[in-house]
């Protein structure tokens, strides 16, 4: 194994932190959105769906720019956030997590939606005849049954967050120690004529990280499935 430079280990730590919070914070929203889109028909559903999928169709840089305009200190939402809570997202790692979350959101929602679609609603009604309220049915029946889908969504979102570049660099810039995640560090190196070796090291690190995340998810998934099927 090779030893990590300070820059590398800092980028890794930061990337993991950003990806973790990106997934964790967006999961409840992702679940709610998937549920809403899968189970209900309402006016403006296609629009909501479209908005959720926007980060997928727009170039990441554009999404980052939109975030910057919206959430920058001078942006409508950003100024409100700052004045009310003293929160400022641009140029912070929290902002990086937000950018990653926004970019990964459609992936998470899709995966969860897909698994909500495939569960047998008869089981849910059966649970209700046993006295469980809608909420309780959701928590005890639906949620465990869609767990593999949620996991898949989270892994996808985590991986996407690890690799997020365009929106991040645009929204929170490339600030060492604060927002310079692995992909940003990688970008910086690629910009320097002799950076290939360093870039390669970072690329390998990214791959190792994602393999680890995937491996972990496979193990969890296998357990979940074992619980479900055998």
């Amino acid at each position: 194994m090779f030893e990590l430079t300070a820059l590398e280990s800092e980028a890794i730590r930061l990337s993991l932190r950003v990806a973790f919070w990106s997934v964790t914070a967006s999961l409840p929203f992702g679940l709610a959105a998937a549920w809403l889109l899968q189970r209900y028909d309402f006016y403006g559903k296609t629009l909501l769906n479209g908005i959720i999928h926007l980060p997928l169709v727009l170039p990441p840089v554009v999404v980052g720019y939109l975030l910057l305009i919206l959430l920058g200190r001078r942006g409508p939402l950003g100024s409100w956030l700052y004045e009310t809570f003293g929160i400022s997202l641009p140029f912070t790692w929290e902002g990086a997590a937000l950018a990653a979350a926004v970019m990964a959101f459609p992936l998470m929602v899709r995966a969860i939606r897909l698994s909500i679609e495939t569960i047998d609603q008869n089981l849910e009604t059966a649970a209700r005849t046993l006295g469980a309220s809608r909420l309780s049915v959701f928590l005890t029946i639906t949620l465990p049954l869609i767990a593999p889908g949620i996991l898949a969504g989270c892994v996808l979102a985590f991986a996407r967050s690890l690799g997020e570049f365009g929106a991040t660099i645009t929204f929170v810039s490339n600030i060492p120690g604060e927002t310079r995640t692995l992909p940003l560090a990688l970008y910086s190196l690629i910009q320097t004529p002799d950076g290939e070796t360093g870039a390669l090291r970072l690329a390998v690190l990214s791959v190792i990280l994602s393999l680890a995340a995937l491996g972990a998810s496979e193990i969890i998934e296998r357990r979940l499935r074992a619980r479900l099927i055998d």
Partner: protein, 376 residues
């Protein structure tokens, strides 16, 4: 004793389900009808799983559904236990957690049925830690039954709960269902194809045919009605007698029943004197003699008068007999009918084997403890 009042209209594909009836669900109410008659659909509407196009359902004075008034009590607040035709066990929970799913939602004080009780009865101790996928068909159905019971419902809906079970298992579970009805006073709506099961269990019978409720009434009445034969089934034909315990013959393990037309000896019943009991006597178990035969093992010879002879062109004819006011049916060959010169008004003896009146043919009207001593 809850009053169930139903008036529903609902389209199902090309068929329209129309159910208008009222009955008391004090004991067990059976829904009987051929495959596709709409039994499951009706029960689904009672439980709130299927929303009728229009109509009303009320149970014990509480309106569960009323399309006109816009009432539709949510499934979980109807507190109706449901044993589904296809099990519907939760695949991600162990058998134990499937069983306690409903139980956990019942306040401690309101629990009248407990886990140990159900596990012991259904003999599923060894399955408790398994997943539903590792169960056989019959085992699944037993767990589903236990799960619904443990939710301690106000009324239990059972959709052919015993179809997947073998006879010995059925024989074990039927008394338990009776016990629920009697000791727990749990009203039950029971969908079944089996007239045997229904006679044994049910007080009230709802007959369905192609989406319509054709008749509602006591099991005795409906099974004795000739016009309902196409629905109740020819093979199952028979009459139900209202009897009471008149004596016990401890030595031979026999019990004597009194009814309007005389006395019947049946295998021992562990019931107090005077206790009311319903007995179904199938037409095919009744023979006819003009004079009481001697030296035979047939213990029950009831003197009757021939009331009517079915006109069907068939090797077999059904006789309607009157025994002191009680109706008895007998099925004999057309040849015997002619040989004996049977005709309405003739006095004959109905021969009924004691052993033909077995546990399958006995039902009950009143509340009491288990009444059959186990015979192995």
């Amino acid at each position: 004793m809850k009053n169930l009042d139903v008036d529903l209209h609902h389209r199902l594909g090309k068929m329209t389900l129309e159910a208008k009836f009222a009955c008391e669900t004090g004991g067990i109410t059976a829904i009987f009808g051929r495959s596709g008659a709409g039994k499951t659909s009706l029960v689904n509407m009672l439980a709130g799983l299927l929303k009728p196009d229009r109509g009303r359902i009320s149970l014990g004075g509480e309106t569960l559904f009323d399309s006109a008034a816009g009432i539709d009590v949510p499934i979980e607040r109807r507190r109706l236990g449901y044993v589904f035709q296809e099990g519907r066990l939760f695949p991600h929970l162990s058998v134990r957690n499937n069983l306690t799913y409903g139980l956990k939602r019942v306040p401690k004080g309101e629990r009248r049925i407990e886990l140990e009780q159900v596990v012991a009865l259904l003999d599923i101790e060894s399955l408790l830690e398994r997943r539903p996928q590792a169960l056989s068909g019959g085992e699944k159905q037993r767990v589903a039954l236990g799960r619904a019971l443990l939710a301690n419902p106000k009324l239990l809906l059972m959709d052919e709960p015993l179809a997947a079970l073998d006879q010995p298992r059925k024989d074990e579970i039927l008394p338990f269902i009776e016990q629920l009805r009697d000791e727990m006073a749990l009203p039950i709506i029971y969908v079944s194809h089996s007239m045997q099961e229904i006679v044994r269990l049910a007080d009230t019978l709802v007959l369905m045919s192609s989406g319509r409720v054709e008749a509602v009434g006591s099991v005795e009445d409906l099974t004795s009605r000739l016009d309902l034969r196409p629905l109740t089934g020819r093979y199952e034909a028979g009459a139900v007698l209202a009897t009471a315990i008149a004596g016990q013959d401890k030595a031979f393990g026999l019990t004597e029943l009194r009814f309007a037309g005389g006395r019947l000896k049946v295998p021992h019943l562990n019931l107090p004197l005077g206790q009311g009991l319903r007995v179904r006597i199938r037409a095919r178990d009744v023979s006819i003699a003009l004079t009481p035969p001697r030296d035979t093992s047939i213990l029950n010879m009831i003197e009757c008068e021939v009331k009517a002879i079915s006109e069907e062109r068939s090797p077999q004819v059904d006789l309607q007999l009157d025994a002191g006011g009680a109706a008895i049916w007998a099925r004999i060959t057309a040849r015997s009918c002619q040989a004996l010169g049977l005709r309405p008004g003739l006095k004959v003896f109905a021969l009924i084997k004691s052993v033909a009146i077995d546990r399958q043919s006995l039902g009950r009207r009143d509340q009491a403890a288990r009444f059959l001593s186990e015979d192995e």
